[in-house]
Point group: C2
Chain length 252, copies 2
DNA sequence: CGACATGTTGAAGGGGATCAATGGTGGTGG
DNA sequence: CCACCACCATTGATCCCCTTCAACATGTCG
């Protein structure tokens, strides 16, 4: 067990984008004990029903949270990228309600529940920040329900691409962009409740607006894409001005 | 502003079904200031984007959390019944990511954020219990994504009925039952991403297994219904044995 | 009793699934 | 360095679940 301050920094950044933490609280987070783990592609590193004693921070790669139906059809219910705590909820609810799988070769940082709980207990503001991140997670899930339930395939896919792009560059972005994203069409299908075939065709229909190739997402026309995707970044709680960040806990 | 201990009891029960709270912590919750509100049917009492300063506890009736697409199609992303805090997440994230609407005439208890935050700050175990409830909420949302994304209409509807039944009687139930649930077919449609027409036909296909009429859900054959719905109640975190409830916070 | 919401039924059309095959492409080992 | 293989992308043809549109029935509440 080592200290993974370098990698924890990404997680801390995520937290402080939305929450107010003081220096001692930040230090406590960077001081968390960690263990690095490499996960090969397509491997479940948390299984359904398993009780875990640590959380998994994504350092590199993409992680999917999976649900499945009786016939084996898999549905991705959440995507997690570098800086995300993929199962933060497990701190208060250690029995996994869904499996976690590496969608690409992935590097994780495992942080023991015990250590995180200790920090959360000592610093209420940290507990609050973690809770807040879970709330954002839930807001994203609610968006996905709407996405899958009430939008056409084209809109669905566009919305997902917008969400991913926005989360990658945690700044408001209203422009074209291009970034590494090594998911396959079949994984996009699992995330949008479509079939691979239809993802392929829908992606084609977005030519000139956005594309996925060479493990890279290219967004050529952000306005058009966010329009098609009916996308409004508000729910991602990105770009919260420092003055608007809330802190319930007293100064430590 | 009065004390609504009677009605807060339902909320406290919900919390203590999953979390361990000591007597002083329970007392602090029952002591929260509240304001009763009657909400007429079909009225939004929280709008999208609004910043609230209180949470809404459902005392009686049914509340839906709504998302919507560009053409006005509405999707219910969560259902809340008596005892549920419909927007608990607003404690840490006061800007509403979705609207809340009364699906039936509803009685609410409004609890000021300030008061709840004060209790949460003084009693870390309370903050933990609230956080845990948000985590359960998120687990339900993940199920809904799977439900809407990868299940047939029949399965979807059966799954929803199973979830509602299980949440109403927060005990493991493997049997027929009948309970008041005044939602319309059109609301079930919004919750499952179907059309009213198809809900009507699908409901008919469940004749003898389950039915919705006279504002009442009747489940005649639980085994068949949970089978069709591919339902496993685990994610609802109902029926957690006292010994299995987790408490991070130290004894107060 | 009248009005409006909710439930019911029929007919027709389409969006996306399904099935099936072929074409790329990167990775691996001989 | 090439041959092979596994995985991924692409395309066509067909089917069907569910939507859409439209009408009518039923219920409920003032």
């Amino acid at each position: 067990m080592e200290h993974g301050a370098d990698n924890l920094q990404g997680f801390l950044d995520r937290l402080t984008d939305r929450s107010v933490l003081h220096d001692n609280e930040k230090a406590a987070i960077l001081d968390l004990p960690t263990r690095v783990a490499q996960v090969e592609i397509h491997r479940d590193f948390v299984s359904l029903g398993e009780t875990t004693d640590h959380v998994c921070l994504v350092v590199d790669g993409i992680v999917g949270r999976f649900g499945q139906n009786a016939t084996g059809g898999r549905q991705i219910t959440a995507l997690h990228i570098a800086g995300d705590m993929a199962d933060l909820h497990s701190v208060v609810q250690p029995r996994a309600g869904s499996a976690l799988q590496a969608l690409t070769p992935t590097t994780l940082l495992r942080v023991p529940h015990a250590a995180l709980r200790e920090v959360a207990a000592r610093y209420p503001a940290v507990a609050e920040a973690l809770w807040r991140d879970c709330a954002v997670d839930a807001a994203i899930l609610a968006q996905w329900v709407t996405n899958v339930g009430r939008r056409s395939a084209r809109t669905r896919l566009a919305h997902l691409l917008c969400e991913i792009a926005t989360r990658y560059r945690a700044e408001g972005q209203r422009e074209a962009s291009s970034f590494a994203f090594a998911a396959t069409q079949s994984q996009l299908a699992d995330a949008t409740g479509m079939t691979t075939v239809h993802v392929n065709r829908t992606l084609k229909s977005l030519q000139g607006i956005a594309s996925l190739s060479n493990r890279t997402i290219d967004i050529q026309d952000w306005d058009a894409l966010s329009d098609i995707g009916e996308f409004d970044a508000g729910y991602l709680q990105v770009d919260i001005k420092p003055a608007d960040r809330i802190r319930i806990a007293a100064p430590a």
